[in-house]
Symmetry: C2
Subunit: 318 residues, 2 copies
């Protein structure tokens, strides 16, 4: 299941409770677009904000409407005790994998994070996608930690930040403007080096996924196994086309398609990430009502809604 | 209640559940040391790690054993909905104030944080202590945000990071070694400037508290109203003596007493903050068993335990 597009839908809210009907609509869209997998409650699906019962309900709904597409769910929590309970709940709901970030309030150290994965890896009956997101967890994985985690059972994939792929994205566009992409340049890029060092550290059966949507095209072009995508949770066909281009070796086209979305990437940057922007997109497309995120989140500015609506129409995002 | 020492005890665990008897022992110690207030479930008391029922139970126990000393409790949560439920629970348990940090997973923006305080400030029946801790919340308060929050009802205090007081701490020690502290130097320090700018921004009735224990002596010497203290949760008499020195104008003595604890401050820095170190101290003093923190937290290294035990004995910390 750790291949191609893993689509991360939002969990839409309506008056501070989950709008299950709206969520079902989002899942139906992903299923009809035939994405490779769905992460029902990833960071964008607000897993840490939901009670265990809400997690179960959302995941169950995703499984029921995924039309056989594998479903993953975020199980991270501050206490290992709660992570294990979350695992139990989402496994009961029928997930095919769990996404586990070292969620923290008091910042964790490396041995504590290792201990978390060690405990959970022996209790799951589905593969774990290890989730590195320093921005929300205040924790960066060292190579040594990846090496130790790679030896644990049931580790299926790692989800890494996309920033090492920034240079590839930039260089390939600079090159494509004149003489096409230079293969040497690409294989010497920071992203390629990061991927190859991770492949050396981790067993071959562990997939490596890219996150941070503006780096997705570059990550897939450089050889990541999957793109764990926020924008793919609302515009799965748009993202699939980029991945198809990258997979067929047409990396310049993949980059050009990603570059065409620069208005979206800027909007993500201006609004603290993808969450609020894709929530607005889901509202614009009629999946849910405004505001679709729970307090204290606020909708993006009216001007941003207009711009987003314009981009969606202009580029026929779908 | 926002004056002098606000002591933050840990919430001790035993086999992954709260050790209420041990917590009661910690509160009894604080009450007998006659601290100015007790924050029953602050960051050190792991409020985000507890269920609402656990929060209620811990706070109720603190109120029952505080011998009339005011009790505060952390109410922060990812969703405003849960913050309000937490407020309700701890008010029912009898708190005199609530501590509210803008807890986040998805990073919040300024309007969202303001909205959180606006909503909660209209629902509480006790004063709020606004809690700025960029390290655990990924959010830094701007002066403009403080200005807006200062106009809301029921704001009793703000708890600011101690880092601006670092220069005072350093300068006063450098000076005291030779010719005693220079009053000019002190009032021109970064901490004094920060305090005076905050006093201009906030209404006079809002207390300003310092956190980050290594900066506590400097913060109190420069004019903070209270010291919200992790180490004060286990060694209240030691901290009270420092505050007494600062309050009686003997800032060189206050700094010297804080400097004598440099072994503790280094230990805090080496172990990701005060939490794991004060938990170890509570274990050493017999309040609770090892491990006293829930997974994924790990106890500090054996070598650190020995050093801590040595410091406690050597300096008669109490």
């Amino acid at each position: 299941m750790f291949t191609g597009l893993s689509a991360f839908p939002i969990t839409p809210f309506k008056q501070e409770t989950i709008d299950y009907k709206a969520f079902q609509g989002l899942v139906d869209n992903l299923a009809s677009a035939n994405v490779d997998s769905i992460c029902a409650i990833g960071s964008t699906g607000l897993y840490p904000y939901l009670t265990r019962e809400e997690k179960y309900n959302v995941v169950k709904l995703a499984v029921n409407h995924a039309q056989g597409i594998p479903v993953m769910a975020g199980v991270g929590a501050l206490r290992t005790y709660d992570v294990l309970k979350n695992v139990e709940a989402v496994q009961q709901a029928g997930v095919n994998a769990v996404l586990l970030a070292p969620v923290s309030y008091q910042v964790l150290n490396e041995d504590e994070v290792y201990g978390l994965y060690e405990t959970v890896s022996h209790e799951v009956s589905v593969p774990i996608c290890v989730y590195e997101n320093p921005r929300v967890t205040n924790f960066t994985f060292s190579d040594d930690l990846y090496r130790r985690i790679g030896k644990l059972p049931n580790i299926g994939a790692i989800k890494i930040p996309g920033s090492p792929f920034a240079t590839f994205a930039k260089n390939s566009m600079d090159n494509s403007a004149s003489k096409g992409i230079s293969p040497t340049l690409a294989s010497n890029s920071e992203g390629a080096r990061r991927l190859s060092s991770l492949r050396e550290i981790m067993p071959a059966n562990i997939a490596i996924g890219v996150s941070g949507d503006s780096f997705g095209a570059a990550g897939m072009s450089e050889g990541c196994d999957l793109w764990l995508s926020v924008i793919g949770g609302i515009f799965p066909r748009t993202v699939t086309r980029i991945i198809d281009a990258a997979h067929s070796g047409n990396v310049v086209d993949a980059q050009a398609q990603s570059q065409a979305l620069s208005g979206i990437w800027s909007m993500f940057a201006r609004n603290g990430g993808g969450l609020r922007v894709v929530a607005a997109a889901a509202e614009i497309l009629g999946y849910c009502e405004t505001p679709s995120l729970p307090a204290p989140f606020l909708p993006i500015a009216k001007k941003e809604y207009s711009e987003l609506e314009h981009i969606i129409t202009e580029l026929s995002l779908s």
